[in-house]
């Protein structure tokens, strides 16, 4: 997509979001919409490392929850405003990505993936034992009384998430078309050859992990205000890891559009399913869909479209 057209579409999406927010429709739309947009950010973030570089992160929950808990910490200690929360959550999770990347990315991809899974568990244990942010009991967070421009704070959060989603996708789009994106694609295709062709593979991988972690933290930062009650088992829920995998897989992992498609489709389906059938059955379906896609259609919907068009 050419730059000009992309800018237009992005601004258009933000504009739509604002209009929808002002329209004061059924409040459930804003709650559900927030979750779907949050997943757009998470899926896009995951794909920067998973789809572009080929390194699978199973610990999405760690980065997301760290963003949320950083926000709680900042709210409790400094009564910080939302932009600070978002930046803080992003930075802390970004540093986590940097750290775990630097430690484990020299090894085969498999070990990185296992380490990310371990990370989520270790972090959850740490948080459970940290009473300042609520520990195992969890913490209640009080929303600010009125949101900027929209009265209802949740509607405001919805609009914030629209902007964050557009921002995340823009970052992915920029990376993808840059020399960094091409280097990541080379190392995904054949890491040894890429290294021998002058691509600084370790540096690029650590970069991707850091950006990915940053965006996941950004997605998590508004979470405390959204749910008002944060406890470790929900913040560190395995759902985040599964969805972060399934959405790009379903949409297509090679480009920015895939995670968006996957997040919108799967996210909407899940919102519908949670209301109509049990939430557990809904999860089972996500798992089956994930395995189905990875076995039968690993290139996702975008890949199927490409095949049909005969390219």
């Amino acid at each position: 997509m050419k730059t000009g057209r992309y800018l237009l579409v992005s601004l258009g999406v933000i504009g739509l979001g604002v209009l929808l927010a002002r329209a004061r429709v059924n409040p459930y739309i804003y709650f559900a919409g927030y979750v779907i947009l949050q997943y757009v950010v998470i899926a896009t973030a995951w794909n920067i490392l998973g789809g572009y570089a080929g390194y699978v992160n199973f610990g999405t929950a760690a980065f997301f929850a760290l963003g949320a808990y950083t926000a709680i910490f900042l709210i409790e200690s400094l009564k910080a405003p939302l932009p600070v929360l978002i930046l803080g959550g992003g930075l802390v999770s970004g540093v986590l990505g940097l750290g775990i990347g630097y430690l484990t990315l020299r090894l085969k991809g498999v070990f990185f993936s296992i380490a990310t899974f371990a990370l989520a568990v270790v972090l959850q244990t740490l948080v459970i034992n940290w009473d300042y942010v609520g520990g195992a009991k969890g913490m209640t967070v009080i929303r600010p009384r009125t949101g900027v421009l929209f009265g209802n704070y949740v509607t405001f959060l919805f609009t914030v998430m629209v902007v964050l989603a557009v921002g995340a996708v823009t970052i992915a789009w920029l990376i993808e078309r840059s020399w960094i994106g091409r280097g990541l694609a080379a190392l995904r295709d054949n890491e040894e050859a890429a290294e021998c062709m002058g691509v600084p593979t370790l540096r690029l991988k650590v970069f991707a992990t850091t950006v990915s972690g940053f965006l996941m933290g950004v997605a998590g930062a508004p979470f405390p205000y959204y749910v008002t009650y944060v406890e470790p088992s929900s913040a560190f829920n395995l759902d985040y890891a599964v969805n972060a995998l399934a959405m790009p897989m379903i949409g297509g992992t090679t480009t920015w559009a895939g995670p968006v498609i996957g997040a919108v489709l799967l996210g909407t389906a899940q919102q519908v399913a949670t209301v109509t059938i049990s939430s557990e059955l809904n999860l089972l379906i996500v798992g089956v869909v994930l395995v189905g896609f990875v076995v039968l259609a690993p290139e996702g919907i975008l890949g199927l479209v490409r095949r049909i068009r005969g390219r």
Binding site: R182, A185, D189, C196, G198, P200, T201
Partner: protein, 240 residues
Amino acid sequence: MAGALLEVQGLTKRFGGFTALNGVSLQVKTGERFGLIGPNGSGKTTLINCVSGALPSDGGRILFEGRDITGIPAHQRTRRGIVRSFQIPKPFTSMTVLGNLAIPLEYATQARPGGDVAAEAMEILRHIGLESKAHSKPAGLTQIEMRKLELARAMAAKPKLLISDEAMAGLSSGEVDDILAILFRLNEQGITIIMIEHIMRAVMRFSERIVVLDAGDRIAEGTPDEIVRNPAVEKAYLGE
């Protein structure tokens, strides 16, 4: 040693209990056509992996242009001018042939992105005879075209030293001559070339000097004529 582009001093590499390289030393002069031969398992590819930085060594030093590069990561060695092609071609499967060349052009030589890169890449493809496949993906290439792509990609990295690792294995006689001609042309342009090959007529015709490895040791060095008459070499290949 004066005029030595690459100097390997006492290089050792072990895999668990198995010693693949046992204190191997050699020098390659600037502009030379250098052959590296030896029976299977003698350590040729391991030596190349250590020189290019794909594997860390367990002992010894590697000097390039007089500077110690032993601890330097592979991508930096490529930027300094050591480029290798792979025995089994490792193309970037999701990119076109042109895209494959863009990577070393952008990363190894720090060319400016955009128009320059594409034009340069096409120039290299024309040199090597692959320009008609510029927009194909590697999956659609024949064996010899894949080998040419390997070489083209190596050329795109603007090597001072090109290490060609069995670029001709499994090719027909005519195709071997094809690749040989390309390598001769590159050498005429000033690129030092190390050729690892099993196809003896190619190595003998191409090399100015040859080193022979066997079971991790250097057992002979000399001109092609000297090597052919060396009894130790004959023993290594044919046994007692």
